[in-house]
Symmetry: C2
Subunit: 241 residues, 2 copies
């Protein structure tokens, strides 16, 4: 045990890429740093992990302190530990992404103090530390996940239209999808419940509302079902000599 205390140790933290979807746009929550290093720059929300706290717990805590939301979808992505990634000393950070329904977002004391703000992912500029790299790893993983797991629903309100769902996928995958093919594919999975309600307050033909049937999804998975959305636009196949 005394030997253990002689081991080299480092500080370690979690950083969390918090995704939300609003106005057809994929967004992430950033905070403006108030202190050095990188004072004044935008950064991913994160914190040091407490001595008696698991990693996932720390990531959830960061999210809840900032947004007031608990019980969210959260996944570990990758750990960044380059020797010089933090100017003050060795800090290893474990990156997570989480998906929240942006309507549940509350301005908490923490988010107010830290000047948290939603940024469209397409307009994010230089971030503090190696956070651009972390963001990019998280976004890449999200793109992959959204094609193989029914995660999109985490970002939408309980009731949503098929058009909203399609726009969400388009924002995440950064591609356009064909309306008819998208609907055919999604509906063929039998994972959506037609609520037999219509959208209200729109100045045109209102769309039908659906919700995600998570019970049915669990059941299907047990029977070997696997969610897959492979749709893409055209292929450009180059000739193989």
């Amino acid at each position: 045990m005394s030997e253990f205390n002689n081991f080299f140790k480092s500080a370690f933290s979690v950083d969390n890429v918090i995704f939300g979807f609003d106005e057809g746009d994929l967004k992430i929550l950033l905070i403006k740093r108030g202190a050095d290093p990188f004072s004044g720059m935008w950064a991913l929300p994160g914190d040091l992990v407490y001595p008696n706290e698991d990693l996932n717990t720390a990531a959830s805590r960061v999210l809840e302190e900032l947004t007031g939301i608990s019980d969210v979808y959260l996944e570990q992505v990758q750990t960044f530990g380059a020797v010089n990634r933090h100017p003050l000393g060795r800090v290893i950070t474990v990156a997570y992404y989480s998906l929240i329904n942006i309507n549940k977002y509350m301005v908490t004391a923490a988010s107010f103090a830290q000047k948290a703000k939603w940024h469209s992912i397409s307009t994010v500029k230089a971030l503090a530390f190696d956070h651009n790299q972390i963001l990019s790893a998280c976004f890449d993983l999200l793109k992959q996940r959204v094609r193989t797991r029914p995660l999109g629903f985490e970002l939408l309100p309980l009731k949503f239209t098929l058009t909203a769902l399609q726009h969400l996928y388009e924002a995440i995958l950064e591609t356009e999808l064909d309306k008819r093919n998208f609907r055919k594919k999604i509906l063929s999975m039998n994972l959506l419940i037609d609520l037999e309600e219509a959208q209200e307050g729109v100045a045109h033909r209102p769309a039908k509302l659906y919700k995600f049937d998570s019970d049915r999804y669990e059941k299907l998975v047990k029977d070997g079902f696997s969610f897959e959305l492979k749709e893409s636009k055209k292929k450009m196949l180059l000739e193989n000599s």
Copy 2:
């Protein structure tokens, strides 16, 4: 800076699941622990990360010290940091897997002292710490990767037969593949170079030897090619009510 020194810190390590393929069997390299905790049990090779060492470097070092092999395929998988995963104190560990050509494996002083031994993945029993959980995460990722990246070749000698390649895939995916379909698919990617040589020393019709064309792969990837091996056996589709 003095504030930084007051942060809670923990020891951190890397653990490495080293895969090899031999005699039609997927294997991993384990070491027998000589000291408490878990003295006498098999464990994944790993070590504490040095103060001025990046994570990937540490994982490579562990592998090279043990096997004498450098320049191997290595990928970070997941970080395990449960509060009580290590009996002596808080230790966060970053899990990696690596793929080596088992014929290059040398018994080094380190592997000898640590009683390193190859174990068929199907016969691995209880390991020290949370290493079964780590192994399982790494094996799962390997299964996924091998379908979407041409990694199999890392585990084979430079020259190999299509049958050997198929057996490798079957060992990793834990499924049987159809010979004709497998060959059709692999050959259609134009990633193999027919060496116009035959196997020697076998008591039956010798198979042709191939090697992987990594230059061509790089080129194809730039043109948007993506490796995919989706092959599986039958489907069991259960009725959707």
